[in-house]
Amino acid sequence: MSRTLNRKGRRHPLSSLVLILVGLFVSGAAYAAVTGTATAADAPVSATQIEDGKKLFASNCASCHGLSAAGSAAGPSLIGSGALSVEFQVGSGRMPMSGSGPQAEKKPVQFTQPEIDAMAAWVASLAPGPGVPEASSLTGGDPSNGAQLFRVNCAMCHNVAGAGGALTEGKWAPHLKNIDPVHVYAAMVTGPQNMPVFSDMNITAEEKNDIIAYLKFLDENPSVGGMDLGSLGPVSEGLFVWIFALGGLVAITIWLSAKSN
C-alpha cells in the first residue's frame, strides 16, 4: 500500500538534478574511458589528471564557480583554496550543492575518489593552497589534550560531545561523529563555509592530531553515563524528563490518591 502511494507521490525536487549529474558523470566517465586517461588514479599529480579534473570541473562546478574557477555571483572563487578544500567539499558530499540555501548540506558523495582527486589536482594547479595530508599522518594524537583544545576552540559550536548545534538564520554546525580524519583536518585548515579557519599557527599540526584523536575516542567510547539522548543537553534531556519522569510521577500520584474499589 505504502509502496503504491510512494509511486504515485510527487518526484523528489532534487531528482532531476541528480539525474543530470548522473548523466554528466556517465558521459564524463565514458569519455575518460575512451580517451584512456582514468587509470592514473593513484599516481601523484599528472598532467592528464589535471586535464581530467578541468573537464569534470567544467561540467559539474563551473555553473557557479566559473569556468576558470574565479567565482561568480553564485559561488566563490576557488583560486588558492587548494586540493584540501576540494577533498573536503566534494569528498564529504557537500559539493556540488543541490540548491541555494543557508548552508551546503551533506549528501551521498557524488564522485569517485579518482574523480575528486582529479578535480583537486586541477584546483591546486591554479594557485598554491593547502594539500591533502596522508591519512596515516593524522594518527597517534593525545585525546586528553585534544579534549581540552576541543572545549576551547570547537565545543561552542559543535557541542562538547561533537553532537553539533544551531547557528544563525538556518545555518548549523554539523555533528562530528564518525567523520573521516582527513575531513576533520581539512575543516580546521580551510574553514569551510562559516567555520573559522584554524591554521597551524593557531592550532599546530600536532594539536590537530590531538583533536582528531579526541573525536575518535568519542566515536569508540559511548557515554559512560548511559543513554546520552543525542548529547544535546537540556533539549533532549528536558523533553525526556517532562514526558517520562513527570508523566510517571503524575500516573503514580493518580494511583495513590484513587480510591481502591
Binding site: 576551547v152 574553514g191 591554521s199 599557527m201 481502591s260
Partner: protein, 343 residues
C-alpha cells in the same frame, strides 16, 4: 423556592445574592471495597502484595550479585556504565516493588473506614485566658518589672547594644572593595600580549590569517595566583581577522584594530555567557544561551536578541617583535549590566 426568590434584593448597584448558589453537598455515602466484601479477593490481594515484597527482596539481593557479575574494571569505561546501569536498575526496581506493595496493602486491605475530625477553634476557654493574665500579673509583681524602672531600662539598653558587633562582622563577609570596582576592570593593561587559550603561546599578527578565530587570554593571567578563574572569566577575548573591506569602524576606533584583526570581549552583555560562535562569512557572533547576535563587522553591534549593548572591544596593536598586545584595559566594563552601571 418561590419564597426564597422574593428575598433577593434587586436595587440598582447592589450585589445579587443568588439563591441557587452551590450548596455543601456533604459527604458521599461510604462504599465498601471489593476486598472488604469478598474474602477471596482479599486473599488474592494479600498474595499479590506478598509476592511484590518477595520480588523486592530478590531484586535487592540481585543488585548485590550484579555488582560482582558486572564489576568496575579500572580503565574500562564501559564496565562502569554496565555496573551502574544493572545495579541501579535492580535497586530501583526493588524499592519500587516495596513501595507499590505497601501502598497497595494500605489501599486494599488496611482498615477502610472513612472518618471525619472537625477542627477545633484556636481560642482558649475563658478560665484559661483569665489564668494566663493572672500569671503575667504575678510575674510582674514578683520581678518588679514595672516598679524597678532603672533595672528594666538598663536591661533593654544592654539587649539593644548586643547585636551591634554583628553589623561589623557581617559587613566584613562582603568582598573587599566595592563590587563596582571589580566589575569595571580586567587584568588587561597596556603592553600585555594576547596569548592562546589554554597554552599561553603569544600570538603574532602574521599568524592570524583571514577568517581565523583565536580564543585568547592575557599573558599575565598565568601569573595570577588568587582568583585565576574569576580573572580568566572576565578577561576572555575572541580574536578575529576580517577582510579590510568588511570592517566598518568609527573614526575614534580606527586605531583599536590591526590590519583587520579585532579583539572583542567574549562575555555576553546580556547575562555573561561566552559568546564564541563566530561565522566567518557573515561575521556574525552568536551567543548560545539566548541567541543574541553581534555583527563583528559593525563593532559588534547587537543585531538580534536580548543583549543590551555591543560587546566591549579590546584596543590592540603590535609590539616591536610583531606580537599582538593590548593598548589598555577595556574602556568599559565587560559583561552584563549591573546596578551601578548607567547603561
Amino acid at each position: 423556592m418561590a419564597d426564597k426568590k422574593s428575598d433577593v434584593v434587586t436595587s440598582a448597584g447592589s450585589a445579587v445574592s443568588r439563591p441557587d448558589r452551590l450548596q455543601n453537598p456533604g459527604f458521599e455515602p461510604e462504599h465498601k471495597r471489593v476486598h472488604d466484601e469478598s474474602p477471596e479477593r482479599a486473599r488474592g490481594a494479600e498474595r499479590g502484595i506478598s509476592l511484590l515484597f518477595a520480588l523486592s527482596g530478590i531484586l535487592s539481593a540481585s543488585a548485590f550479585a550484579l555488582n560482582f557479575i558486572f564489576p568496575i574494571v579500572p580503565g574500562d569505561l564501559m564496565s562502569t556504565r554496565y555496573n551502574n546501569m544493572f545495579v541501579g536498575l535492580a535497586i530501583a526496581a526493588g524499592l519500587l516493588c516495596l513501595g507499590v506493595g505497601a501502598v497497595h496493602w494500605a489501599k486494599a486491605l488496611m482498615h477502610g473506614h472513612e472518618l471525619v475530625e472537625e477542627r477545633h477553634g484556636t481560642r482558649g476557654g475563658d478560665a484559661t485566658r483569665a489564668r494566663a493574665v493572672e500569671i503575667f500579673q504575678e510575674a510582674n509583681k514578683e520581678s518588679g518589672w514595672t516598679r524597678r524602672r532603672l533595672l528594666r531600662n538598663s536591661l533593654i539598653g544592654a539587649f539593644v547594644a548586643l547585636p551591634i558587633p554583628a553589623v561589623a562582622l557581617f559587613r566584613d563577609l562582603a568582598p573587599a572593595g566595592t563590587p563596582e570596582e571589580k566589575l569595571s576592570h580586567t587584568i588587561w593593561e597596556k603592553g600585555v600580549r594576547l596569548t592562546r587559550d589554554p597554552n599561553g603561546v603569544p600570538i603574532k599578527a602574521s599568524d592570524v590569517t583571514i577568517g581565523s578565530a583565536f580564543h585568547v587570554m592575557p599573558e599575565n593571567l598565568l601569573e595570577v595566583e588568587e582568583g585565576f578563574l574569576d580573572e580568566k572569566a572576565k578577561a576572555a577575548v575572541l580574536l578575529m581577522r576580517l577582510p579590510l573591506d568588511a570592517l566598518n569602524e568609527t573614526e575614534d576606533r580606527k586605531s583599536w584594530s590591526y590590519d583587520g584583526i579585532v579583539a572583542y570581549s567574549k562575555i555576553c552583555t546580556h547575562v555573561g555567557c561566552p559568546v564564541a560562535l563566530y561565522e566567518q562569512q557573515t561575521h556574525n557572533l552568536l551567543c548560545p544561551c539566548h541567541q543574541s547576535q553581534f555583527d563583528v563587522s559593525n563593532q559588534c553591534a547587537v543585531i538580534f536578541g536580548p543583549a543590551a549593548r555591543p560587546l566591549p572591544q579590546l584596543p590592540i596593536t603590535v609590539d616591536s617583535e610583531g606580537y599582538l598586545v593590548a593598548q589598555s584595559d577595556f574602556l568599559e566594563p565587560v559583561g552584563p549590566s549591573y546596578w551601578e552601571r548607567e547603561r
